[in-house]
Amino acid sequence: MSYEAHFRVWRGDIDGGALHDFTVEVNEGEVVLDIIHRIQATQAPDLAVRWNCKAGKCGSCSAEINGWPRLMCMTRMSIFSPEEIITITPLRTFPVIRDLVTDVSFNFKKAQAVPSFTPPKELQPGEYRMQQVDVERSQEFRKCIECFLCQTVCHVIRDHEENKPSFAGPRFLMRIAELDMHPLDVADRKDLAQDEHGLGYCNITKCCTEVCPEHIKITDNALIPMKERVMTRKYDPLIWLGRKIARRS
């Protein structure tokens, strides 16, 4: 079954822009990215859009669809009624380049700031031995496709540009948690998470989890466990007292 859908697509660049109306054909089984491509093919050949795999695996086609951060290639048209007006904008947390394309380099800088996997010094590559039960917890986090939808929706930086320097965002706090749980990682990541990457800014309101297309339980399985680990290190009065006494004697 085909029908004509009503789309509003944001077009513009850093100097300004607006929502543009399009009436465009939709066929059974299509996803939002198909419709964007049709607009590009038939009505707006210079419409800028980033995409690669069309299979929900490269994380390039992130946009906001009716105000909700989503992958365009994984958003089926069948979730909308034919009468509905569908509004597509670029991610509203990062600087826009053109049309639906944003500059997500903030995320790459934050990724760089997380110290990489640090195995014990005496251990040589090839000597790593790990039990499955020890790694399976962090395997969930390895499903991340770096679409940065979680980064986009997180109010800490979405609503506060000034927090960007002090907050890494859910994706990279999850990376820190992943390494902190890693059986072979010996780096100290607890102070780092709190002091450098702003874990305390997260108020566990779970929007990152709600939008993650890989259904990673970011808040429950990475951020909260990391908060608990930081708590033991930094805020546990009993442990603090124990450490004081140990230092004395």
Binding site: R8, W10, R11, G12, I14, G16, G17, A18, L19, H20, D21, E64, N66, G67, W68, P69, E84, T87, T89, P90, R92, T93, F94, P95, V96, T102, V133, D134, R137, V153, H155, V156, R158, D159, H160, E161, N163, P183, G200, Y201, C202, N203, I204, T205, K206, C207, E210, K217, D220, I224, P225, K227, E228, R229, V230, M231, T232, Y235, D236, P237
Partner: protein
């Protein structure tokens, strides 16, 4: 046709910050995103009002005949507690009518719930509007979350959890006591059933807690070296995703249990007994 205006430079913050796509609307969400935070605010409001009233009532917390003690007043440790309600001693003097008898249990339970990750989320969304709903801008100029005093103290949740677990053991004792018959022997009434439903809800709530999950296993780096704690962690990880549900269910069962015991104790209703 193009629509939309560019916001003035004066109030350029959040999604209107310089450099971001200039879109006039604060949010373009089309669903009913206001419903959930309002619903939550109403539920929490009802609970706060109810428990506040009950706290200062200082009465009708123990149904002596049926041996039902409400979880809100348990353990009853004041010399003012009515006869039969203080199985754990009365080591607190009678502080007069204006002072709540539940002066021990109440603060622990309040702090336990207030620092619970689920209620924190609910509070941030419903009362502090940070954020009300995902992708909906919060109204504040500045935001530092839980990184500073006093909100950083929410990190002490694990201690309130431990306190709540001790109280829960006492609630478990109370629930067994609810099998004592009117007069002699054993017995069971509707109140016993209500108390047990509440007890199960409270255990599920407390055992699915994130701090519990961390303490009993989550803090480990090598599960393979601690097989028992790994299994405990596995179990908690199974019920933990439903922690929010248990938080709400147990909120209602506590109110229901307390209200029922209050009604029986005040003789507004009489407890239906299955056997005595």
């Amino acid at each position: 046709m193009a629509t939309g205006t560019v916001p003035g430079p004066g109030k350029a913050r959040g999604v209107f910050s310089a450099g971001r796509a200039q879109i006039a609307e604060k949010t373009l969400r089309t669903d009913n995103w206001r419903a959930s935070p309002i619903f939550m605010a109403v539920i929490l409001g009802i609970f706060v009002v109810y428990s506040g009233v009950r706290l200062f009532m200082n009465d009708n917390y123990y149904a002596a005949q049926e041996h039902y003690l409400t979880p809100m007043y348990s353990p009853c440790i004041s010399e003012a507690c009515v006869e039969g309600s203080s199985d754990f001693g009365t080591w607190l003097p009678d502080l007069g009518t204006g002072v709540p008898i539940a002066i021990l249990a109440f603060p622990i339970l309040t702090l336990f719930r207030a620092t619970c990750y689920y209620y924190r989320k609910a509070g941030w969304r419903s009362f502090l509007l940070s954020p009300q709903a995902c992708g909906v801008p919060e109204p504040w100029k500045k935001y530092t979350g839980e990184s500073r005093f006093p909100l950083v103290l929410a990190n002490w949740h694990r201690y309130f959890w431990m306190g709540a677990c001790l109280l829960l053991l006492i609630n478990t004792f109370d629930a067994f006591k609810a099998f004592e018959g009117v007069g002699d022997g054993i017995g069971m009434g509707v109140g016993t059933v209500i108390m047990w439903v509440n007890l199960i809800a409270l255990w599920m709530y407390s055992m699915s807690c994130h701090a519990c999950r961390h303490i009993l296993g989550g803090q480990l780096k090598h599960f393979s070296k601690h097989p028992v704690r790994y299994r405990i962690w596995k179990f908690i990880s199974k019920i933990n995703p439903k922690h929010g549900d248990w938080a709400l269910i147990s909120l209602f069962t506590v109110i229901a249990t307390d209200a029922y015991i209050m009604a029986v104790s005040a003789e507004w209703i009489s407890d239906f007994r299955f056997f005595n």
